[in-house]
Structures are given as structure tokens and as C-alpha cells.
Point group: C2
Chain length 440, copies 2
């Protein structure tokens, strides 16, 4: 079974072999980091590829003049290798969010290798575990362990391969391009990462060393740091329009840095959608590229969630936020906690003074504290005291705003038993009583 050597062919490939020499005791990652054992914790191969070599590159750059064609080529190749990761490794292989014809697959496997981030197989397995176990201990680059951990730490510090969640990669094991790239990973990395960019610059305009330093080493550093941001920044900066149970977030900055992978809250909710940005005005060059490949017949079967499903998710998250907000606000004494009062009792109490009582919609309100602040004036509000002011309040005199209705709930003091003014008039007129005497 190929997945028995889970860390091989990653940047950590060699580290896995080293590990086999230690046969007893807990994995080094289980022991706390101290100054004494720091060296043991560090993955030597990865720190070399991710930190040391770029530093050499910076040093070499001081002695290597940067020529314009080389700069252009380095930037172009940065985009190609970046797309190898985002459109290839990520959206095509890890998420099968679209299908690609063989030439496109080979191109993506090649330039993706040139980004020096491990083989497709290794990368996708970890990435699927990241989606399935997001933010848990089984997530290979859980942001809960710190922003730097999710950006670099998970590669620079040795990992216990057993800790990382298991995922189904049977589809990848059946893909000849993936299998070939995995088997020949070292050759692919050296050729596509360093040799090819130097070749282009050397054969093209004679700048062998510039090609090596700028389009090779330094470009690797930039593309690595940029795509690593998907694991760090995208779980740390921005909004959560679809789900806030986990850490993924949407932010334009992340999108700009990662060739469009910045709408990560959307992406974790709809991982098999070939888009990350769903609005036309959002920056997602990876999506644009896939779309262009489709027009060229190189890509097909682009998966897309129905807009209806996307809107449902957004709506539910907004509802969740509103419900949370609602519990933090004061909505007045709940009706069922109020004492019950007879309509005559209410009239009696309102007449006898003391409190300014106004009955609206079956609830008695003590508006004493508000009379002077009433935007409609003292006279208006006073006209409602001791009466069933429901109709007056709701348009008879003025159709009060929603805000006025809300305010009312703060002044609740009692609910009225049975009917209110109108009902009592009706009843009295049926019984032929003299209502004016009774009520006024």
C-alpha cells in the first residue's frame, strides 16, 4: 500500500527515513520543545528547502545583477508554479473540482513540482485531512496551534505521521500522472524548480546565473510563502460569511497573495466548487485560468454548487449571528411574567394618577419617564393615558415606528384580562348599559 509511508516525497521525505532509525520511545513531536532538544525537533531537509536555500538566494542576489527579461520570466514563472499548486494540486487533485485532459495534467504536475511543496500525492493527502479534520489535532496544519505553526512550523518541526487524520486517496493512486510525479519527485523538483528556469533564461538571453538565482531560488521562496498563506492567513484574517464554527475566513488580502485562494470560508464550505471567489469582481485568477482552459478544451466538468445552496448557507450564518445578537439585547419583561389586570382596574389606576399608564395591544405601559421625551409632544402622549390607545398608537393619530414599538416593551407593567375598550363597549351596548357612565 502506497500510503504506508505517509511523509515520503513531501519536503519531509528524507525526514521520514531518518525517523525509522529510532525504534523505541515516543515520537520526538510528543516531547516538549526545549533549548536542548530543539535541534532534534527540527526537520533538517525542510528547514533547508524553506529557509536556508532562500537565504542563500538573497545572498547570491547581491552578487547577481537582475536583468529585465529575467525579472519578467521570474514573475511569469512565479504565476505558473503558483497555478500548479492552486489550480493543480489544490483544485484539481485534492478536491477534484474539475477534470483536466492529459496535456494540462502534465503541465500542472510539472509546474506544481517546480513550486517545491512536495508531490501531488503527499500534498493532497494532507490537504484532504486538513478539510476533514479542520482545526482538530488530526489537521496537519491546524491554525489552533498558532499562526506561525500553520504557516511554516508544521513543516519545520518534525511531525508524528500517525497524528494526521487518514483520508481516502484511492482516486489519486489511480491517476498515472500523480503516481509518476510521486515516484520521480526528486527529479521533478530539481528540474522544474531550478534547471528549467535557468535553462529558459540561459538559452533565451544568456542569463544562466540570473535565471538560477531569481527565477529559480528566489521565485521558489516567494511562491512557497504565498501559497503557505492559504494555511495560515486564510484561517486567521477576515470574515466568515458561511460558517463560523471553524477557522476558515474570507479576505481580499489573502486572495491577492494566493492567486485567489482567499475566499477560504466559502472554500471549506463548498470544497468541490472549482471557484473560490463567487462574485465576478473578486480576485480569483486560478478560477479564471480554469475557465480559460475550459474554453480551450483542456478542462471540463467544472463543478459548481447551485447558487441556491450558497445563498442558503449565507442566510443561515446571518441568522445565527442575528440570533446570537438577539440574546444580548434587552427585550423588556416577558409578557408571561407580568401581573394580570382588569380593564376597569387599569382605568382606575390611570385616573388616580401616580403612574402614567397607557394601554396598547392588551399590555399596560407606565410611560411616566418618557412623557417629556415623547417626540410627538406631551399633549399627544397624555391623550392616551387611561384609554385603550392601541388604535391611536397604531395609526389612529400616528402610525408609530418600529422603534416606538420596541420602546414600549421597556415600559410594560401588566397585561389586561379579557377584552379591552372596544370589546367592553360592544358588550355594554349589547346589554344596553350606559357605557359613558361606566367608563368616563
Amino acid at each position: 500500500m502506497v500510503s504506508a509511508a505517509p511523509a515520503s516525497a513531501g519536503p519531509a521525505g528524507a525526514a521520514a527515513k531518518l525517523r525509522k532509525t529510532r525504534l523505541v520511545g515516543p515520537h520526538i513531536s510528543e516531547t516538549p520543545i526545549t533549548l536542548g532538544n530543539l535541534w532534534q525537533h527540527i526537520d533538517k531537509l525542510n528547514i533547508t528547502l524553506i529557509i536556508m536555500v532562500p537565504m542563500l538566494g538573497v545572498w547570491a542576489a547581491f552578487y547577481t545583477p537582475l536583468r529585465t527579461p529575467t525579472l519578467c520570466w521570474a514573475i511569469l514563472y512565479y504565476f505558473w508554479t503558483g497555478l500548479g499548486i492552486t489550480a493543480g494540486y489544490h483544485r484539481l487533485w485534492a478536491h477534484t473540482s474539475y477534470s483536466a485532459r492529459l496535456p494540462l495534467k502534465i503541465f500542472l504536475a510539472a509546474v506544481g513540482g517546480g513550486a517545491v511543496e512536495g508531490s501531488i500525492r503527499w500534498w493532497s493527502r494532507d490537504h484532504r485531512a486538513h478539510h476533514r479534520y479542520t482545526d482538530t489535532d488530526k489537521d496537519p496544519y491546524s491554525v489552533r496551534k498558532g499562526l506561525m505553526y500553520s504557516h511554516l512550523g508544521w513543516m519545520i518541526l518534525k511531525q508524528n505521521p500517525k497524528r494526521i487524520g487518514r483520508t481516502d486517496i484511492s482516486d489519486l493512486n489511480e491517476d498515472p500522472v500523480v503516481v509518476w510525479q510521486h515516484k520521480n519527485y526528486l527529479a521533478v523538483v530539481i528540474f522544474m524548480g531550478l534547471v528549467f528556469p535557468s535553462l529558459v533564461a540561459g538559452l533565451g538571453w544568456g542569463d544562466w546565473i540570473g535565471g538560477f538565482v531569481y527565477a529559480g531560488i528566489l521565485r521558489i521562496f516567494f511562491v512557497q510563502q504565498a501559497t503557505f498563506c492559504v494555511n495560515s492567513l486564510a484561517h486567521w484574517l477576515g470574515d466568515q460569511p458561511f460558517d463560523d464554527r471553524n477557522s476558515p475566513r474570507d479576505h481580499i488580502i489573502t486572495a491577492l497573495v494566493t492567486l485567489g485562494e482567499g475566499y477560504h470560508n466559502f472554500h471549506h464550505e463548498f470544497p468541490s466548487d472549482y471557484r473560490n471567489a463567487i462574485e465576478w469582481h473578486q480576485y480569483d485568477p486560478t478560477k479564471w485560468s480554469i475557465w480559460v482552459w475550459k474554453q480551450l478544451g483542456l478542462a471540463y466538468d467544472l463543478k459548481q454548487f447551485r447558487q441556491n445552496e450558497i445563498e442558503k448557507g449565507r442566510l443561515q450564518q446571518q441568522q445565527k449571528k442575528l440570533d446570537r445578537k438577539r440574546t444580548t439585547l434587552d427585550w423588556g419583561v416577558p409578557l408571561e411574567q407580568l401581573p394580570v389586570m382588569e380593564f376597569e382596574e387599569y382605568q382606575e389606576q390611570a385616573r388616580s394618577g401616580g403612574r402614567a399608564l397607557v394601554l396598547v395591544a392588551g399590555v399596560v405601559h407606565d410611560v411616566s419617564s418618557f412623557i417629556n421625551d415623547h417626540p410627538g409632544g406631551k399633549a399627544m402622549i397624555n391623550s392616551g393615558i387611561g384609554k385603550d390607545a392601541t388604535a391611536i398608537f397604531n395609526g389612529g393619530v400616528y402610525n408609530h415606528s418600529n422603534a416606538a414599538h420596541n420602546l414600549l416593551s421597556n415600559f410594560r407593567v401588566a397585561v389586561i384580562r379579557g377584552g379591552c375598550e372596544v370589546e367592553i363597549w360592544k358588550q355594554a351596548s349589547k346589554e344596553n348599559k350606559d357605557v359613558d357612565a361606566a367608563l368616563d
Copy 2:
């Protein structure tokens, strides 16, 4: 009774007098505008004050050099007279959203008069009607009659004073500053609108004519157009975070133009709040001025709605939008419209093939169309077919996202009667039956 001459002392003061000469027949505003009667429809005094004089001002400006001190003074006086309207006429008198000591009142009545928009009493009466009858025919400047109507039309075309809603202005009739300004309105307008700005420029740096043209006429034009935007732009451009039943809207552009009166949706919902902008970063110089006057002891009793009430309003509006949105989305066949199925029937149908049936939470789903798109792979989803997959789906194998739960509802085909898998196992084990034979 003072309110018997409702249009007097507005820019339309003289027009009201003209009207009295016509004793029979409908008011001119009731007859449709034609080319023939256009002249009769037009309010001659107002069109002179609002359109003709400014045009003369522009013409005069061609012959009048603009000196820097005059420009500065015109801008300063623009702000003073603008504040006279926003902080004085509007927030102090029309809405009594704070109280002012006599010197401040006199200042506001004076500079407010200099804006040439009618007396406090006339302006506030119309404005209260505007709030009480917003967007109805009783609203003096209803935006429902068109943007230009609410901006200028209502002043340039003659109005039937009987049409405009009645409001209580007894408090204004008791305010000596208001009464004095109303009685001496013509003198106030001429002095504060034209004489005073010329005096300052003339006595200050000898620029009598510049003061008259720039700080007088043209400044009047700008301050009029700016404050008129509260009636037009503020009911036309922007968001409605508090209530969308009526036309008021919040927009930064309106705020910039109107010395902070641009948060008009808030203002119509909380008219007696001395603020229009409730966030510190929003532009509301009128609010800032009132606050400064309070620090100087010139203003007191600044009214402010509790944050709780404001948040309640915002929340309810958001809820309303969500509810509206919810009805536009497809939420799958409602459970009560689904046929009922026995658990054994479900197993039977799932086994016999045809449809890929998965039971989750008591509901049977036909996922045939989704198997190939399943982000977790075909094998995973197939493992749930014919079983009670509730636990598998909800974390047993993978804790599916909210989006996955939503998707499920599209695939509903039946509900299960009584218990599902676990229940039937429990029951069978109680009865000591051989469940494996029965279920597998």
C-alpha cells in the same frame, strides 16, 4: 391663532397673500400643469429667491474679483448658516432633541435666518408634518412625487396649504425667539442673508461688493441646495438599516453635503436623538457642534436613544431582510408532503438498486445524482446506502458541514415511520430475535 396663515413667512410668504385674491374654484395645485398654466403654478417669490437671485449672483461674480479673505469668510458663513438650519431649525426646534440657552438660540435663529429657508416656525411645522406623514400626500416634500419635487419642486410650484398634514407646534408658539424671528422674518432675512455678510467683508477688509456677491448671494445658493438635499437625496440614495417601509436612507454622500444629516434612515426612526450619525467615524459636524456647545454650557439635555433600542431596530430590519430572502430560496420538499415508508421498505428498495437511497435523521434521500460529485468520494457515500446513516453523516465518519445538510434537503424522497436502525436493533434484541438475519 398664528397657525391660521400656514404658508406665511416661508420663502412662500408673499405667495400666500396672492392666493387670498382667488376666492372660488379649486386651488391651482389641483389642476394639472400645462404649458398654458405653468406660469400660474409657479410660486413667483420662491423661484426668485431660489433660482433667479443665484443666477444674478453667478453673473455678478464674473465682474467681481474673488479675494481670499472673502472666500474664507463665505465658506465660514456657509457653515454657520448651514448649522443654523441643521443644529437650529432641525434638531433644536423641529425635533427638540436638545435644549439651548438664550444666547445660542439667538445665534441659531439669526444664522438660520441667513440661510433664507423660511422662519423657524414655518420650517418646523412643515418638517414635523414630513416626519408624521412621511411619503404620503400630507408630506410637504414627499419623495414619492419625484426627486426634483422633493428637492425644489415643492417650493417652486404652488402648494395647497390644506393638503399638508397638521402638527402640534404649541411648544414653538411659546418660544419667544421663534415668535420674534417669525414676526420679523423679512428683516432677519435681509440683514442676516445679505447685509451682515457684506458688512463683515466691507468693514473687515474693504470688500463690500465681494462680501455681498460671494458671502451673500452665492453662499445662500449653496447653503440652500445643500440643505435641500436632506429632503431629496436623503430619501433616495443609500441603505435602510433601521426600517425600509418608508423612503429615508443613510448615505455618506448625503452626510457630506448636509453637515451630517445624511444618516436619515436612523433619523426618521429616532427623530428626537440629537445625533444623526451614531458611529464615531461617521461625518456629523452638526452633532459635534452640539456636543461642543454642551461643553461650553450653551446646550443641555441632549437626548439620545439607548443603544439597546437602536440595536433592536437594526436587528429587526436585518431579520426582515433575511425572512424575505428565505422565501426566495428552495428548501426542498417540506417533510409533511413526503410519503411515509417503513424502515424495512427502505432497506428493500435500497438493496434492489435503481435509486441510491440514504437514510439520515429519519428522512430517506435519493443521492443517485450526487454520488459522482461527492467531495468525500464515491466509496464513502456508497457506504451509507441502505443504512441508517444519521450517525455516519453527523460525525461518525465525517461531521458534514451546514452546506451538506442543506444539500440533503434537495434529495428528500420519503420519511421513515417509527424508529430507525438503532431502534429496531434495540427492539429486536429485547425480543431476542436474530437481527442479523432480519436486517442483513
